[in-house]
Symmetry: C2
Subunit: 336 residues, 2 copies
Amino acid sequence: MASRGGRPRIGQVAALAGVSATTVSHALNGRRPVSEATRRRVLDAIEELGYRPNVVARGLRAGRSLTIGLVIPDITNPFYPVLARGLQDVLGPAGYDEIVTNTNGERDLERHALDKMISRQVDGIAFAVFHTHADDLRPVIDAGIPVVRLGGRQSLPGVDLVHSDDEGSAAEAARYLLRGGFRRIAFVCGPAAEGPAAERVAGYRTALAEAGVPVDPELVAYTEFSRAGGAEGVGRLLELPEPPDAVMCANDMMAIGAVDAARDRGLRVPGDLAVMGFDDIEAASLVTPALTTMANPAREIGRACARLLLERISGTVTGPSTEVIIPARLVRRQSA
Amino acid sequence: MASRGGRPRIGQVAALAGVSATTVSHALNGRRPVSEATRRRVLDAIEELGYRPNVVARGLRAGRSLTIGLVIPDITNPFYPVLARGLQDVLGPAGYDEIVTNTNGERDLERHALDKMISRQVDGIAFAVFHTHADDLRPVIDAGIPVVRLGGRQSLPGVDLVHSDDEGSAAEAARYLLRGGFRRIAFVCGPAAEGPAAERVAGYRTALAEAGVPVDPELVAYTEFSRAGGAEGVGRLLELPEPPDAVMCANDMMAIGAVDAARDRGLRVPGDLAVMGFDDIEAASLVTPALTTMANPAREIGRACARLLLERISGTVTGPSTEVIIPARLVRRQSA
DNA sequence: ATGAAAGCGCTAACAC
DNA sequence: GTGTTAGCGCTTTCAT
């Protein structure tokens, strides 16, 4: 009867209260009536022994673990902690805990992490990965575990998708600049306009077109997703015969680089060149001038993901793949 | 025999391979010899069925969950993701996963999180909290779960402690400034010199004393742990009859505020006033001038914590509370 | 309103 | 080298 680590088990509580384990169980989760007197004795016994139900045993019996798995490239990347928190905002109150695994964006580790999640009997998986093919998800789907993919675009069959509204928020950013009177608005994006970057470029084009501003292809610079990349891209744009008066960057690091480049050439930001970023990383409010940017709604994405997961787990939602798109928020600061 | 969610269980593998469940088990974790031929058949059956052992059941049987709990105030605070990653660096290869809970620094939630960890049968707990008293840890200790406390100073009985070397690193920072020829070195710390702040002030004093530089009490400013606080503290210091030529700040946000204050007064950094931070947050390298700072060794702390936990779990270490102190690293950039 | 017994999926004695 | 049996701690029929 004595259990490992000296932890009391349900039988000891039952013995002390003079009832059966069954009754203790029901007193605890109220699935059938227990007389008030009995309940009191049980509760007292629990208190006295410091009993805490074994969630692992309960899970084994019930066929669910009250655990969800979060599979991400690297928790150290500032986007993911916020995402994780958003998940917990919703999952915690529902009684779920979250187990986190980093994959470094490597496909082998992603597959391995997925296997581990199955082994651990998680009730749902939130995953933000790049290299996973539909094949890799087969085992998870077959195991009947709901999966929500975070970010990315192409939805896998049987997998829900939550991501930010890249196109819409780029359009919103562009409209903000247009309202500010800027007319030669450039866009500094990554090496190739694919994935989110493509959406953002599309939104930018849409907004310009709406406003009747011609879209000059020369004003889209392809470069690296880094501070140096941003500086380099803006450097090239500023050498154009008709340089831009405003620049939208695909992320905040690039925007910081853009400010560097402007400063190096003696230009004032936003006086001579307005700069907008994307994401609203912590540093965005700390640099000088503080960055005007579109806040990446990481926390909202996490929450939406958690809600979807809970619905799938409870069977409230049963249809085919769902796609949830979360709008980004404009954060006005000094750079634009 | 068929299991939930269509997941195959060990019995099905056994049936397909024409052996007993025991043999499958041993083929899998090699605790007793299995003939090569049998092993092959088992492995083939596993492959064919896509079998993945149920870690929950295994854990129930074995009395360990291969899970450790991480209890922190808020994963959104940039220190903790790095810590979590450090833990995983060591825990992952050892087969452990990490379940993370945020407490918002509230004592009730901390207690609740600890209870949850016991219920979930975690094999160890890493916790970084403020309001937990020894009493709150009683249940965990009684349950025989190893606990390592992260940061903080006073070690609780039966609880190991890992933290950064605040005193030593403050001394190192001060020595760096002294080597740079600065002689009137100020320190901007939090509201009261308690906890880590006190250690840092002590290290600062030690280094000055070593160098034969008089320690002027006026040069220690007490203020808030924020950007505004840093600006305010430095503002006061600069109004002194003999203002400092260098300032050490208790964290990077305050250092950024210190730079603000200097700039507002037309002072150049580091020309007129050298500024040093603590922590090396991401923004430290992004602001202008980039901050010279003492890097908070969060990842190393996480690793050390994980090592300690594993040793406690395996029983390699059995003595009384251990204390591990991790040195911080000087990161030279522009501000000093 | 309460108990006894079976079983979730696995592994560790204890056989042979 | 392999199988049978019991049991980890819990919840849930099925009885009473």
